[in-house]
Symmetry: C5
Subunit: 354 residues, 5 copies
């Protein structure tokens, strides 16, 4: 399937309320993890089924349910039944190829973004869909795979950093989005370093290898842009959103988020331009070196072709060639050859080829 | 006629109220199909004439009339007479080369989009104009040809999926547009896959065949853009529209539609950029390989041209060439030749050509 | 003078009220035609002077005065005197190199656009300025030349099509603008057809002729853009205009006009992009074919240059060349030559040049 | 100093109220000219000092003071003292490298634009800063040099054209700006003519001279853009300005100004695009001609290299070359040569190289 | 680390309230300088610790505290404690890789910009983060390094220029920002001068050195753009800001600031375009010169290859070559050679190659 847009034939004409998994299955099990916290307690647990959530929820604590693996629609139907989540929300979660979006539902906010991983050796970025659905004291995060970038947040929760433990689920949602976008910045800067390192290589010794690199980086930067542009739109909407599920004190942090995604966006645009410039410089350098190669060929050819002809003429076996019999003919020939060469050299000198 | 813009000479100066078919006739008959449905019944029928519609319409049911073939203005005049549709609406339907548009009339909404087909072997996309005219309980769809992408909707209607059967014609209109745009996404992703597959080919073995492919895909992507950009504008207008013919509950679905067309639009822009990059990479690769070819030519020429000249000189038949008579002249010549060659090789080595 | 911008030195510092003709004179006479119509009568007439208009005007009829030829400022001064037209309006009419514009005056609307003609053989588009000045029952059209695209409108007037005959001058103005813009679309589609036909030619047999065509079309498309972009702006202003000289029932038609000019604008942008792509493809194809040419030259040179050298060595006339006297030397030389050639061929095979 | 941006080191950190001349001094004196006019009288005078202005000013007349040369801050301090002009205004006048701008002060309007001169032989545009400061009956124009484009306005003033003599200083300001922008249009059209003339040259005989021209024009067009873009912004602000210093009757003329600067802006963008296209066409033409050159070289080389080798083989002096002794060998050799040549020709024919 | 975007791995998931230095440490000490001023006194001092500030602050004087070196979070914690600055503000100061931004806090304004230095020999621009935090009578400036561009401001403060000494901290903040942006303009103009100087070099003698320069300048211009674009956004926000910490009289100066950053932005865009044009011109010039080189090679080859072949034929040693024995054969051969050469020369003449 195409990496930049995935749209399965089966998705055409599906009812928006139908629960059908439209991504690629990346796990063969579903893993449910719950972190329950308030200012003075924190509890972590693996759950066997959605129904257990209710046992741990309490009025004054925030529950963070993390679901890895989305292929099992049974689990999600339970979610609808147990936690009164709109069927439309869950159907949306199942289409993992959606653009990042923000949707306000009656009793919850729906936020989806892409999480990125960067394989440093292959220079390839892969993405995974993350959906956060939250109200005041419940946040559910849906991931396609086990393993994420949220460990710093879990650490902050465990170490009782006062701000995060005493806030509602909206602060947790912000913290998760913040990590995702910080990770964008980090990946861009790692890729950017490689791109900037290309600069010297390109003028000094442009090789076909540099071309492969330029191409690889261009594709990855395009991929990043594809991810970041709609994410930026989503974050802007989030900043403008006037929902009672988002506390006023969060606004300053959301502004920070917007600043970061803006910076990511600008950096990607910068690197895209730099890569275009690099390709142009490469192309021009190659064209310039070609000139050198051909000047050399031309100088040698133009000097030797006429004198080789002269020698050829006196290699003919005609019976009557008067010149052959004069005593100094051979030396005169050499004289003519040398004069010819000198004229040519003078000519190339004047043309600044030498 | 031009594929990107079709504008017949006959269309110039036509009254906006004149019923004249301005497309290409793609059928030699007109086919009328009616689906009449409410929550608890559904009836499908082929109609012989427009006047039959009235027999089946009822207050509490929605009627979907599908008309394939637009060349017969008689049928359309009947429509005006029987169903009180504005003449301006019908005249518009007949100009199939229009941009997608949304128009609000007194008693109905007019929506036109292009439906796409993708021929996988020829890599060619063709389009057909679709017009939807609807009010609360009647939707008329106008197509140029028999055959469409609406079968999933017909199936959903028949299988009594509760949402679609209990809603008004506005939900049907949304469902039809949704299928059309899902189909865009599917076609883009099929084309996109081919484009992304080109990437490796281009650096490893750039052939004139890759060039043909790049060109073909560029034209198709431009064609898609031409279709999608005004469609996006139309969908945005639809989302902002404040009409009593569109129920409030539809808004969330229209937002989804806007998200999808936005995704289609972004994907097309991405692929356009990728193709431009690919062409640049191809061009640069070709220029780079040229350098290789010419370095080889130059090395061989520069080495052999001088030594061939030396041999030529001693092939002359002058009577008096002293060197010819020394015993070791021949071997000295070989020595000079070998030294010349070694100097040249050292020179090319130093220039990093070898 | 430059085709894309004409600005005479004499125009600098002219008072905006001065009546001086700033275009090129294209006629040596002035032709005045009057069509006077109401729902039940129509009268056509050639006028000798402006003053005659008054004789034919009546309260309940619309008068359309068409003036071909603008160089005679006397005629225009009569217009100011007889019909109470603002001097500023008439001074504007005389500067035929203006951008299309819409201006609301106290008692009339001023609309100017460019009319296009397309010379199919020369592939050249020429333009002429058209100014419409109208109030409720008088429309004056100013043209630089005899001959226009308005015959379909005159036909509709004569044949008593009910809409046009029973409406005010605003409908006539719309109808005239509609013809002008339909004509744009027609010209773009004729040029577009030629552009799309280039596509195959470019990859199969790129000739310098294709290059001339690309260049010609690019210039014409730029010219069209120059005409259409300000016209689009003007039409948008017209749609937004809140003037009592434009009846509400005209709005739906003006929207149509906006749709058409939008389509023209998009088509021109599309074709511009297609031409840029075509030039890139052409350039890359040429570079690619160069590779082929030079591979051939290199293969022949690299194979024959060394073996010609070998033959050259044994063509020297040294007295003491031992090899010459061995019985099989000649055949050994052939053997060496053949082995050299085979090695070269194997090498080129491995490099995928053959 | 850089032509596109001039920013002196001394300007850094200067107080906005400090009177220091930051331009290049272009005169070694200051010239003050006064034109005093009302509907029925006009008086022109050279002034020795600013203080004389008061002697000539009267309630019902407009005074136009023109100052050539800005290096003498003494003169400007007098201005502040005598005419109650804000120090900030005068400090601004002294920084001649500012962008065009419009500023509303308590008792005057400040407008600055660039005046252009075009040297037709050098194809170089130079600019000079013009500042207009005006209230109801006083307009001061500041120029860096003697000599301007305002003579048509002075003529209109002298010849008692009724409009200009009976209006306030705002009309004079409009008239001066109008001349400046008309002059832009004239210069663009002169440059444009040269650009359009290049078109034929480029395909028929592309020479390095055309390249020099393209480059020169590109730089000048960029320079024009740099001047015109902020000027356009300034004119737009002027049109939107709601100041009592600008009479309502001027609005229609300001709209005209906006139209003209818009036209200048569009023309510059057009010519920029045309020049880019021309460079691309030039480059592609050059690449195409290279193909021709190299096809010729390849054809000759490929035909003659093998047959020269054959001749070379039979020029060797081996004792035992059986072929040399057969009677018809020489003619057979010719046969082989001719057949080889024919095969090559047929091959090139098939490849469409001939 | 990448120069265009620096994002450390440690920054991911950090709490927004955590004080951790995320820049590169550029000093190994912290330097605190205080300037305390009012209309009639000024006091400068180096401070040992933050707590000393309180000793010098007074109601009617403005205090400017400059902090060089940000790595010591102890100093900053003191700041929070002593001066009631929000922890969020200080945490922000520590992340020196942020985009320029403006944030309004309850009791202060936070403004960050980049200060630039230009190394004229290396043609490299380096940047340092500057943060200004101010309320009515206190301004704290945070720098990463000792040494800045603020000396002109300190001079103005010392010399008792009336405006600056009698204003609040907002005027000081404006003056500091003004210096920073004037410095941008100065750096751009120094770089611009070098870019404009390239123009002649490129057409007359394009060398690989020019290519290196173009590349270097392109990177620096991109770097400037990266710095200036978000700064422009920040200044625009500052102009629109409605805060009581900014006096109304400052508005006219902020407008000036906006004008300057706008000019910087336009200049950078201009130079970027000029560099792109220069690279294109360079590339085309190189391609054009290649044509010259190859025409020369082709002319020599095409003339000498056939005549060398003729000489080669009569160098063969066949026993029976009738021509060899005719008396004038040798001269006839010369005749044929000369005629061949003349035909070739005529052919090249006709092709305009000579």
């Amino acid at each position: 399937m195409a990496r930049f847009l995935k749209a399965k034939k089966e998705a055409i004409g599906l009812s928006p309320y139908e629960l059908r998994f439209l991504g690629e299955q990346k796990l063969d099990f579903v893993k449910l993890r719950l972190i329950n916290y308030s200012e003075d307690q924190l509890e972590e647990r693996e759950l066997a089924s959605i129904s257990e959530i209710k046992d741990f929820q309490s009025e004054d604590a925030v529950s963070w349910v993390n679901i890895d693996g989305l292929h099992d629609t049974g689990v999600l139907e339970e979610l609808i039944a147990e936690l009164q989540i709109d069927k439309l929300v869950v159907a949306d979660v199942l289409d993992t190829h959606r653009r990042p979006k923000l949707q306000e539902y009656e009793n919850c906010l729906y936020v989806s973004v892409k999480m990125l991983q960067f394989d440093d050796d292959e220079d390839q970025i892969t993405s995974e869909n993350l959906v956060l659905v939250f109200n005041n004291n419940l946040l559910i995060s849906f991931q396609e795979r086990v393993g994420d970038v949220f460990n710093p947040i879990r650490e902050r929760l465990r170490k009782n950093k006062k701000r995060i433990r005493s806030s509602n689920a909206d602060y947790l949602a912000f913290a998760l989005l913040d990590v995702v976008i910080d990770n964008y910045l980090h990946i861009i800067s790692r890729l950017g370093e490689k791109i900037e390192d290309l600069d010297d290589e390109l003028i000094e010794k442009p090789s076909s290898d540099s071309l492969v690199k330029i191409n690889t980086y261009k594709v990855e930067i395009s991929y990043l842009r594809k991810i970041i542009k709609p994410c930026r739109e989503m974050i802007q909407n989030l900043c403008r959103l006037d929902s009672e599920l988002i506390d006023e004190s969060i606004q300053v942090h959301l502004d920070e988020l917007r600043h970061n995604i803006e910076q990511a966006n600008e950096a990607v645009d910068n690197y895209r331009e730099i890569l275009s410039d690099q390709l142009n410089i490469f192309h021009t350098t190659v064209a310039y070196k070609l000139n050198d190669v051909l000047k050399m060929l031309t100088i040698f050819s133009v000097i030797f072709i006429p004198i080789t002809f002269i020698a050829g003429v006196y290699g003919t076996n005609f019976e009557n060639i008067p010149e052959l019999h004069y005593k100094y003919s051979y030396f005169i020939m050499w004289g003519i050859i040398i004069i010819t060469v000198l004229i040519m050299l003078w000519y190339f000198k004047r043309k600044k080829w030498l």
